[in-house]
Symmetry: C2
């Protein structure tokens, strides 16, 4: 691992999004359409990263890259559009490991990244090369250059995240989640500079799974307290709609961990950290009983327009909050039930 | 590199083919259709192998594998049939190295091989897994587990083989060829057992480029003398037809090294080693002046039937030679001009 020498002398970061994979990537894509180059940074979960057939796979970085480059497959819900699977067919043909689907187009990223890492380039630099080559203007920042590994404790024992998520297709009942290596991992230097940008206007927590995608970022040493201490609004978008997760195992996980499957559970999870929770308009009745400020709007993102609209709403909320935040903080965080 | 523990207690090897890539692979495929399982071993040049984007590429092993599995692309002349190039498209899109064409189907082999090598498996074992998975019954044996590297000395300086062959498309004028690492490399243990098989009936030198494909095998320590000392016929198929190489730079190389572009040059190259040179029927007039025994037949292999016919002819020649070889050897090797 080489140290990052990039400095941010003229930091113009105005918005930071904390994001995991697919859902978070769509919100980040909406933000990308609104922000000028350099104005939007995305801190991306890397605790799902793993090695497969000698390749370094970074599912969340790639989901964000594809969504922002407009290359994501919206029907399948992951990976690249107009993908082919001929390499996979060979792997199956010769009896190689084939439990993890590698698309042919997608493989180009894994090959390039794995090779560049072996040459001593940082994950940030590689991600930056890839994303800028694909025309992405937001800055994608891996949460850390250090290895952090999400381990899911289930009724089938402890499982590596990809084992749980892909191999076992989220079937085992989850008891808890831990992040191996996180105690000694370090928030990415570039992310640190970004969070310290004097231009920063807001931090958004994308509608990603809080346990699997956002907590690995927040639980990096000092990150939660650093975000708490920021003098800018922190706004989360709830990943639940109508008491269900649109994608992934969040609802099952909440249930098996003895928590209700509702926005209050998300609010509790981010208690003391966020200033507002954005929830879907369909859940407006639920919003009244939530003990932190909420804002209702359409959070389901079926198309690029939806992504942009949600990002616009998030910015509107952040601007409103910013105007009166200094008088309310830090005591107000996680208390109150204002509608914004 | 782990040592090879496979022994050949019931060796039934009857025929051994020394082969390089495309042309040699076609002849080997013909032999594969004639030989029962275990009867035919192919010693394959690995001096063209190289690392690309962290992948171990073995062009000749793969050409032989594809030809024997019936998966080779006969029109393109290399690689797999019905190939797609989507991973390459991504590599180009993100500005990665793309001078070496990697087909999507082909990539499966490179990925599997590279990963298995990193896990300590031998190139032989990996090649065996791949080829048997694809239904190949002949045994593919990399000439060595040690790294040997063909270096081409040209008017543009010394070039790695792939640089000369792919990047420079054989344009530089070749002065000589050397094989870096060959002094300390070792013929593969499995190949050694194969050459010592009491059932061995003949050794065939496939119509591959003598300098680029066959010499790396022959120049491994003790190999040339071991083959010379065998009490079985050694038959080479000339890679020239009508004073030209069907594919590759052999004719240009002969010319730039001051040698004639004819079968006598091939006979001279293998002088003292081979008992007969098979040349194309079109060159029958040339055969009379060649100073070693020759046999004429169609050596151009446009289809599987041609491959099989040439292999049949090679076996016929070997059988005829075997019946009178003991009385003629070793003095006769490289002398005489009998027509077989």
């Amino acid at each position: 691992m080489i140290s990052i020498s990039e400095t941010v002398p003229n930091a113009t970061t105005r918005w930071i999004t904390l994001s995991g994979g697919v859902g978070g990537a769509k919100f980040a894509a909406g933000m990308n359409t609104l922000a000028a180059s350099g104005e939007h940074d995305i801190l991306i979960n890397t605790a799902d990263d793993f090695n497969h057939l000698g390749l370094r796979i970074c599912p969340d970085i790639d989901s964000v890259t594809y969504a922002l480059a407009g290359l994501n497959d919206r029907n399948r819900g992951w990976g690249r559009s107009e993908e082919s699977w001929n390499c996979m067919a060979t792997l199956k043909e010769i009896g190689a490991e084939s439990w993890f689907s590698l698309g042919d187009k997608d493989l180009g990223l894994h090959l390039f990244r794995s090779h560049q890492l072996s040459q001593g380039e940082s994950l940030y630099q590689i991600t930056r090369k890839i994303s800028t080559s694909l025309g992405v203007t937001s800055r994608l920042i891996p949460m850390s250059e250090s290895a952090v590994k999400t381990i899911v404790s289930t009724d089938c024992g402890e499982l590596d995240f990809q084992d749980y998520f892909v191999r076992h297709q989220c079937r085992p009942t989850v008891r808890s989640v831990r992040y191996s290596g996180i105690e000694t991992a370090k928030l990415h230097d570039i992310a640190l500079s970004s969070l310290q940008s004097p231009q920063l206007e807001a931090v958004f927590i994308a509608p990603s799974n809080p346990f699997l995608s956002i907590d690995p970022i927040l639980n990096l040493p000092a990150v939660r307290s650093m975000i708490k201490a920021l003098e800018v609004p922190v706004v989360a978008i709830s990943p639940l709609v109508g008491g269900r997760a649109l994608k992934g195992p969040l609802d099952k996980m909440l249930s098996s961990m003895g928590k209700p499957i509702n926005h209050q559970a998300i609010a509790n999870h981010y208690a003391g950290l966020i200033d507002c929770l954005i929830i879907d308009s369909a859940d407006i009745s639920e919003s009244r009983s939530i003990d932190i400020p909420t804002h209702t709007t359409q959070t389901i993102m079926n198309c690029r327009k939806d992504e942009r609209s949600l990002a616009e709403q998030a910015i509107v909320v952040a601007k409103r909050l910013k105007s009166n935040l200094s008088s309310r903080r830090p005591a107000s965080r996680g208390t109150g039930s204002d509608q914004l």
